[in-house]
């Protein structure tokens, strides 16, 4: 309990020292809130088209204007939060499980497990990551689930390497030796000694890669993969508005792009802040 109190005190100190982290945290809460209740609070049906109102610039009725079909962009941006945030969260959770387990096993057992995990990570790293994600989605099929899987796979090396390094330094640690001497098996040591220690570092890794996951997913849907119209998603909304940028209807692409930017910015700042709390030595 004292350790927890210490962490909370340290967290309060970090947030006090760096108000930007506090701001990022507030934004994060807002994004989660919008993702949860967004579809129930939007003023206008995000799929309802109204040709009379098409291509109207931002006004009191349509805060972010309307697109070429007269759909309300504000509502669409709000509703899209759930999909974008969901893709990012699921892909990060997936890679957290895959990469975390593979990395911890590689670092703890060494030997052939280590070699296989290392080889897989190296092979993934041999590709430009976005290009590999494109190839995976193209091969697995053009669905949102596959965007989640592809984003998780391209992040695998990062997680596996961090988890491996952290597990490896703790393999010979005193508390692990003590656990072993008291008769604990490998699996028990992994589950109760190693994993709880590696966990916080991987959580930081999760928040650091959230931003990249959203960018990656939005990039894929921008080039026409995964999300299908008329579904609202930030990447595809920017793609739909792209053609109108040259004729001056900036709001169609601008607001979804802005939402995307704010979300990524928030996750990156939050990741940095969280790292300062969990692992102050790594601060750059």
């Amino acid at each position: 309990m004292t350790a927890l109190a210490g962490t909370v005190r340290h967290a309060r100190y970090v947030i006090g020292e760096n108000p930007v982290t506090g701001l990022a945290f507030a934004l994060f809460v807002l994004i989660v809130f919008v993702a949860l209740v967004g579809p129930y609070i939007v003023p206008i049906d995000p799929l309802a088209s109204d040709t009379v109102e098409a291509l109207k610039s931002p006004s009191l009725r349509h805060w972010f204007g309307t697109d070429q079909l007269g759909r309300d962009i504000f509502s669409r941006v709000v509703v899209a939060t759930r999909l974008d945030f969901g893709i990012a969260v699921w892909s990060v959770v997936l890679v957290f499980v895959m990469g975390g387990l593979a990395g911890v096993a590689a670092g703890f057992f060494g030997g052939w497990i280590d070699r296989i995990v290392g080889r897989v990570a190296d092979t993934i790293m041999a590709f430009p990551l976005f290009v590999l994600a494109m190839g995976i989605v193209a091969a697995l099929g053009n669905t949102v689930t596959n965007i989640v899987i592809a984003t998780a796979i391209v992040n695998f090396p990062l997680y596996a390497r961090v988890a491996r390094a952290e597990a490896n330094v703790r393999r010979e640690a005193g508390f692990v030796e003590a656990a072993r001497l008291s008769g604990n098996g490998d699996v028990r040591i992994l589950a109760f000694q190693i994993l709880p220690n590696v966990f916080p570092i991987l959580v930081v890794q999760m928040s650091l890669t959230m931003g990249y996951a959203i960018l990656n997913a939005a990039g894929l849907s921008f080039i026409g993969l995964g999300v299908r119209p008329p579904d609202a998603e930030w990447g595809i909304m920017v793609a739909e508005g792209a053609a109108f940028m040259v004729s001056g209807e900036w709001w169609i692409a601008f607001f979804p792009g802005l939402a995307l930017m704010v979300a990524v910015f928030c996750f990156n700042l939050l990741g940095d802040g969280l790292r300062d709390i969990v692992d102050p030595r790594r601060r750059t």
Partner: protein, 345 residues
């Protein structure tokens, strides 16, 4: 360089070449697996969505998909060795020739993007490191965080809106050249160089005009890691013993920063270029789509939308091979500029 050092560099390059072999094998296996070992019928993939049953069977036999998986792999590798990446369904052309004609457009854009970002990020990082806590240091941090948060396709569109629609300074985002110009006689495939070789100044300016916005977009995107790394490594070097000695010996701050600190600080920056290229090659696809740039990225995107799989596979393979080669070059470059690596080798 002495003869022994030259021999050491040769060993280093050879060693690094050997280390690239497993990566290349991995890349070939993955691109093979991406089509063959996945749910669904690969023959149907390659025949395209509109193919009849007979056409699918024909493709299956033609591609050897009726054989066992190892046999197919041998066949795939043999085709690769002959430079055969299959045929694009939408254009009817061999994928290799399509990629070859489009590659210079992508390469020119990517390289110019890299030059832009190095040109801004390195001085910014150095200034930030020499004046820690100053305004420029904070600016560097903001740029580094904002740079990685900006979706590259969004930056591109904003630039188009501001510089094309509002200000009218940039040409329409429609490819490498305005329709009133014709391409220079191909020598390097880079319009900037080819127009200079042809001695056509007007054409040079026209192609530069088209290049500025997409290159700037790529540059902004890849700025962050370079600036951050330059700042961090410059800070480390500036607090090292040899810089203190140089200061104590009364050398001017300029000499110390540029001649002594800069050269040493560049080493980690060269190493991060690998990651920067991973970003650049991926972002290239998005930027090409925004600016209708006729490179291999937009080729792959068009093929993806049409479910035309051979070009996508060829594109992924080409990009990966280029990326492996770039990493190899970075490592060799590192060996050339850092004498310590030569001695160790």
């Amino acid at each position: 360089m002495t003869r022994r050092e030259r021999a050491a560099v040769a060993t280093l390059i050879l060693k690094r070449l050997l280390m690239a072999v497993p990566s290349l094998i991995g890349v070939v296996i993955v691109t093979f697996l991406l089509t063959r070992a996945l749910p669904g019928d690969p023959a149907a993939y390659f025949a395209g969505p509109a193919a009849s049953k007979e056409a699918v069977e024909e493709v299956r036999v033609k591609l050897g998909l009726d054989k066992s998986l190892p046999e197919q792999f041998v066949r795939y590798v043999r085709d690769l060795a002959r430079g055969d990446l299959g045929t694009s369904l939408t254009t009817g052309q061999p994928v290799v020739s399509e990629i070859r004609t489009r590659l210079p457009a992508s390469a020119e854009l990517t390289l110019l993007g890299l030059i832009v970002s190095m040109g801004v990020a390195v001085p910014l990082g150095i200034l930030a490191a020499t004046r820690p806590g100053s305004l420029i240091d904070h600016a560097c941090r903001v740029v580094a965080t904002a740079g990685v948060s900006l979706p590259v396709f969004f930056t591109g569109l904003i630039l188009v809106y501001v510089f094309y629609y509002l200000l009218g300074w940039a040409p329409a985002p429609l490819g490498r050249l305005d329709i009133f110009f014709s391409a220079p006689p191909p020598v390097t495939g880079f319009y900037l160089m080819d127009s200079l070789i042809a001695g056509n100044g007007e054409l040079f300016l026209a192609s530069l005009n088209q290049l500025v916005l997409p290159a700037l977009t790529l540059g902004i995107f890849s700025l962050a890691p370079i600036a951050r790394m330059t700042r961090a490594s410059m800070l480390a070097v500036l607090s090292s013993d040899f810089v203190r000695t140089a200061r104590a010996s009364g050398l001017s701050p300029f000499t110390i920063t540029v001649t002594y600190a800069f050269r040493n600080a560049m080493l980690p920056v060269v190493t991060t270029l690998g990651m920067v290229f991973s970003f650049l090659l991926g972002a290239n696809v998005l930027v090409e789509k925004v600016f209708a740039w006729p490179g291999i990225g937009s080729f792959a995107v068009e093929a993806l939308i049409a479910s035309d799989f051979a070009p996508v596979q060829g594109f992924v393979l080409t990009m990966a091979v280029m990326y492996v080669a770039l990493n190899l070059m970075i490592d060799v470059l590192y060996g050339l500029i850092d004498p310590r690596v030569r001695i160790d080798a």
